[in-house]
C-alpha cells in the first residue's frame, strides 16, 4: 500500500535556484540560507521517498491567462524545465509517476475535487527550486514527481480551507493505491513576500513564525486564514502559502515537526523550510 510518510514546506524563490546553478551557495549572502538546508537534505536522503507530490504554482510558464486551472495534476511521464525568459534551468527533467498520478486524478475527481488533468507541461522554478533545495545537483532527481500546480496568480486562488481538504483527499487516494510506495508531499511558495507595487519588499516575520508554529499546533485554524489576511499581512505573493496547506492536509493530524529553517532574505522573500513527519 502506498503511504504518505512526510511533508516538506519550502519557499521556491527563483534566485535560490540561480544561486545553486551558478555555484554561489557558499557566498556570504547565500551561505546562511543554504547551511540551513543541510539537515533537511540529510533527512531526505534518509527518508528515501519513491515519489514526491509537489504542490507548486506556475509563474506564467506553462499556463497563461488563456487557460487558468485552479488545480492541475500532472499525469505525464516526464516534465521538462521551462524557459522562463533566460532559457530553461539546466537541471534534470522531472520523471513523473503516471500510474499513481492517474489514480489520484480519478480518486480526487470522484471525491468531488474539480481537477484539471495535465499530460504535458513544462515545470518552472516553482517546482524545480524545491528539488534543488532538497536534493542539490544530482544527475537525476532521486524520486519520481507528481506535479500539482495551483493557481495563485489570478485572484482568487483556492481558499486555504479548500487546499487543506484537498490534502486530506490526496492522503486517502494515496492509501488506496495498492503498490507499496513511500510518498512525500511538498508544499511550496511563500513565505511572506510582496514582489509588486509600492509595497514591494514586505516581510512579516511574525506572521511566518506563527504560520510555521501553526502547522503542528493548530493546522485547522491555519486553514481558515482568508486571502485578504494573507495579502495584507504576508504580502500579495505570500498567499502562495495556501499551497503549504495542501501538504499539511495530506499528513496525519498529529504529524510532528522534525526540522525547520527560516531566513530573510532570499532575493526579496522570506525563505522558510519545514519538515513534518507522520508518526
Amino acid at each position: 500500500m502506498a503511504k504518505i510518510t512526510a511533508g516538506v514546506g519550502t519557499s521556491h524563490v527563483p534566485a535560490i535556484g540561480a544561486a545553486v546553478d551558478h555555484g554561489k551557495t557558499a557566498e556570504p549572502y547565500w551561505e546562511p540560507l543554504f547551511s540551513g538546508y543541510e539537515k533537511a537534505r540529510q533527512w531526505l536522503a534518509e527518508a528515501k521517498p519513491d515519489v514526491a507530490i509537489i504542490v507548486f504554482n506556475d509563474h506564467a510558464s506553462a499556463f497563461s491567462l488563456e487557460v487558468i486551472p485552479t488545480f492541475a495534476l500532472g499525469v505525464g511521464a516526464q516534465f521538462q524545465p521551462a524557459d522562463e525568459g533566460y532559457g530553461p534551468r539546466r537541471v534534470p527533467p522531472v520523471e513523473g509517476h503516471p500510474e499513481l498520478a492517474w489514480h489520484l486524478a480519478e480518486s480526487l475527481i470522484l471525491d468531488e475535487f474539480d481537477m484539471t488533468i495535465v499530460n504535458e507541461m513544462p515545470v518552472d522554478h516553482g517546482l524545480t527550486v524545491p528539488l534543488s533545495i532538497m536534493c542539490g545537483q544530482p544527475e537525476r532527481w532521486p524520486f519520481k514527481v507528481i506535479p500539482l500546480c495551483v493557481n495563485v496568480i489570478q485572484y482568487p486562488p483556492p481558499t486555504g480551507s479548500r487546499c487543506y481538504q484537498l490534502g486530506k483527499a490526496i492522503a486517502a487516494a494515496v492509501e488506496s493505491f495498492a503498490e507499496d510506495l513511500n510518498v512525500v508531499v511538498f508544499g511550496t511558495g511563500g513565505m511572506s513576500h510582496q514582489l509588486q507595487g509600492e509595497r514591494a519588499g514586505l516581510i512579516n516575520e511574525e506572521f511566518d513564525r506563527d504560520f510555521l508554529d501553526g502547522l503542528t499546533a493548530d493546522p485547522d485554524a491555519l486553514a481558515q486564514i482568508p486571502h485578504v489576511d494573507y495579502i495584507r499581512r504576508a504580502g500579495s505573493e505570500g498567499v502562495e502559502l495556501v499551497m503549504w496547506m495542501v501538504m499539511r492536509g495530506a499528513l496525519n493530524a498529529d504529524a510532528k515537526e522534525v526540522y525547520r529553517h527560516y531566513h530573510v532574505p532570499a532575493s526579496n522573500t522570506a525563505a522558510g523550510l519545514i519538515v513534518l513527519e507522520n508518526g
Binding site: L65, S192, G197, G201, I203, I231, S236, E237, S267, N268
Partner: protein
C-alpha cells in the same frame, strides 16, 4: 457599469494591485505580450524592434508607452501582473530587487539593503503610498 455593488475587501491595502478579474481583463493583452518573451525567437524579434513587435498585441497606447518606458508601476496600474511584467525585467537583465526598488521609489542598492535588514516592515496601518491600492489607474 459594474455588476458588483461593493469595493473588494482588499481594496484598502496600500501599494498593492490585486490581480482580480477586473484587473486581469484590463491587462490581458499586456500580460500576454510579456509572456511571449518566454520564447527565445520572440525575444530576438522584440530586441530588434520593440515597437514593431508590440504591434502584435492590441495594447492601449498607455500600456504600449509603459512597456517602452519600462514604467513598472504604470504597467501594474494598467492591468499588468508582476509575474508577467517581470518577464520584461528578465529580458532587460534586471533583478527583482531592481524592479522592486523602482516600484517603491528607491534604488536597487537601497532595496537590497532594506531586504538584508529584514525587509519592508509590516505595520497594521502602513501607508506606503496614497497612489497605490486597487483603484483604477
Amino acid at each position: 457599469m459594474s455588476g458588483k455593488d461593493e469595493a473588494p475587501e482588499y481594496g484598502d491595502i496600500p501599494g498593492t494591485y490585486v490581480f482580480d478579474g477586473r484587473h486581469s481583463r484590463r491587462g490581458y493583452h499586456l500580460n500576454m505580450f510579456c509572456m511571449s518573451l518566454n520564447r527565445q525567437e520572440n525575444r530576438e524579434v522584440f530586441r530588434a524592434d520593440e515597437a514593431a513587435y508590440l504591434k502584435r498585441y492590441p495594447l492601449t497606447s498607455a500600456q504600449r508607452q509603459a512597456v517602452l518606458e519600462r514604467d513598472w508601476l504604470g504597467m501594474l496600474r494598467l492591468g499588468g501582473n508582476i509575474y508577467y511584467t517581470f518577464k520584461l525585467a528578465i529580458f532587460d537583465g534586471l533583478s527583482m530587487q531592481n524592479v522592486g526598488g523602482q516600484m517603491s521609489g528607491i534604488t536597487e542598492a537601497e532595496f537590497k539593503n532594506m531586504m538584508i535588514a529584514g525587509g519592508r516592515p509590516y505595520k497594521e496601518d502602513q501607508q506606503v503610498s496614497a497612489a497605490g491600492g486597487c483603484a483604477d489607474g
